[in-house]
């Protein structure tokens, strides 16, 4: 069974890049442009994992993370942000991984693989 990954990212180009690369990994992809959309999608179609940007217009990644923890505590979340500084924030500690954005997606892919094949 293929895993379903929800990508939450406001930058369209980046989202397309992730979508393409992760689809090549064999994942089914769901897309959301901000936190509210992500929660709506997650409520309809339960994802296997979430890749979550933090700085987004509308609901940001930190609020989204809290709400996901409430509605889908069992779904692993990977924070994927350009800012290492958020790692100090306790509210990001409920994420299963914290990845600083890079043009090389190897870490993101490896982390997804690890989290989805843990169970």
């Amino acid at each position: 069974m293929s895993h379903r990954v929800l990508i939450v990212e406001d930058d369209t180009n980046q989202r397309l890049l992730y979508e393409e690369e992760l689809r090549d990994e064999g994942y089914e992809i769901l897309n959301a442009g901000d936190g509210r959309e992500a929660l709506r999608i997650a409520a309809q179609t339960k994802p296997s994992a979430v890749v979550l940007d933090i700085n987004m217009p509308g609901m940001d990644g930190i609020d989204t993370l809290s709400q996901l923890l409430e509605s889908h505590p069992e779904v692993p979340v990977i924070i994927n942000t350009a800012y290492p500084g958020y790692q100090d924030s306790f509210t990001t500690w409920s994420a299963d991984a914290y990845i600083v954005k890079s043009s090389d997606l190897a870490e993101l892919k490896a982390t997804l693989h690890r989290l989805l094949n843990k169970a």
Binding site: G85, S89, W93
Partner: protein, 457 residues
Amino acid sequence: MDETTFSASNDDTSNDTPQTAPSPVEAYARPSAVHFAPTIGRGQAARGKESALQQTLVMVLAGGQGERLYPLTKDRAKPAVPFGAVYRIIDFALSNCLNSGLRRILVLTQYKSLSLQRHIQETWGLFNPTLGEYVDVIPPQQRNVKRWYQGTADAIFQNIYMLEQERPRWVVILGGDHIYKMDYGKMLQFHIENNADLTVSCTKVPVAEATRLGVAGADETNRITSFVEKPKNPPTIPGDPEHSYASMGLYIFSTDMLVRRVIEDVKQDTEHDFGKNIIPKMVRGGDRVFAYPFVDENQNESGELYWRDIGTISSYYEANMDLVSKSPLFNLYDDEWPIRRRSQPGPPTKTISYEPDRPVVATDSLLSTGSIISGATVERCIVGPRCYIHSWAHVSDSILFDDVEIGRNCRIRRAIIDKHVKIPAGTVIGYDPIEDRKRFTVSEDGIVVISKSMILK
């Protein structure tokens, strides 16, 4: 979004091309240790170089329902239940904080918090905000969840934002419903010396008693090796096979560890309870969890450790009545460990006798401000503020809260009378268990409780 490089910790410009030295203003405004989201700051700068105590936040869990103390908890949270005539139960824990030098305190409330909130506002406003000191009462905010507190650990989880703002290095977690005197600073020192993730304060109890408590099994270094609730065969203290370490529900956590463990726990289907879930799991997982042997600051003749869980009407009654004994186990008269309370204005206690037929007899009792005892007999009683006891009444072995009026010729014994109750002349309470049970709540051992504002004809 165009994410340019920005980071809160990115204040190091030394490797860049030579620049003019930063102005003193800039150096001041951007200290190298700036935390993420230094939101309200709480006068951190005003605290100066911080001691371990100053880097410690206290979280008082005051959200329990106190069902077993009903009806004293009918209109108030358990920590707000009056104790010893002029105190509330929470005053003991807060006095311990103050006497220990801990001045940053959050009281987490949930049920019936109005009385507690008012009490804290009126009594504990003595902290100085300019020095970064405060006692704040926090009801559930539903910041990150849509539920009430599901357990002690969940209460902390729901207040992670507060920890985020404060950034303490250590967190003291305690219940607001125990009577004891303790220097939390000594426990903090113990925690730091052991490089502990978690320290659990434990009192020594006989093995037989430990079967109904949370018990810590420890090695010779006091590191906890097992933690069980209500064990059939309680682990004993090394070198002392007669006693066990019972958890006092009082913990010191290193903050990072606390945050990690409550987040882990909230993702699991547990009772979200420190004693039942978090501590056993930490012990099993190899975290550094230590038992701190309770050091009692209470000075009494017996030398017995004093720590009371006021869980039931009976234990509440006994702990109160200790105070009227000749030499109470719990010492309210010790200048070195004062217990603060709400100071209420009012005239001194007055006694009126009408010789020779109506003398006042008041023996072995605590009498509070504004009370009047008029031609009545009061024996072994705790009489709260502004009570009025009328002629020929005989009141013994009883606890009267504020503003209780006892009519003429009443005979009352072994009763707890809550606030604002007027007992009509000639009423008899505590002499006929069957009659008492028809009208009032009566504990198993026969203590009659008359609830707040009850109207009797």
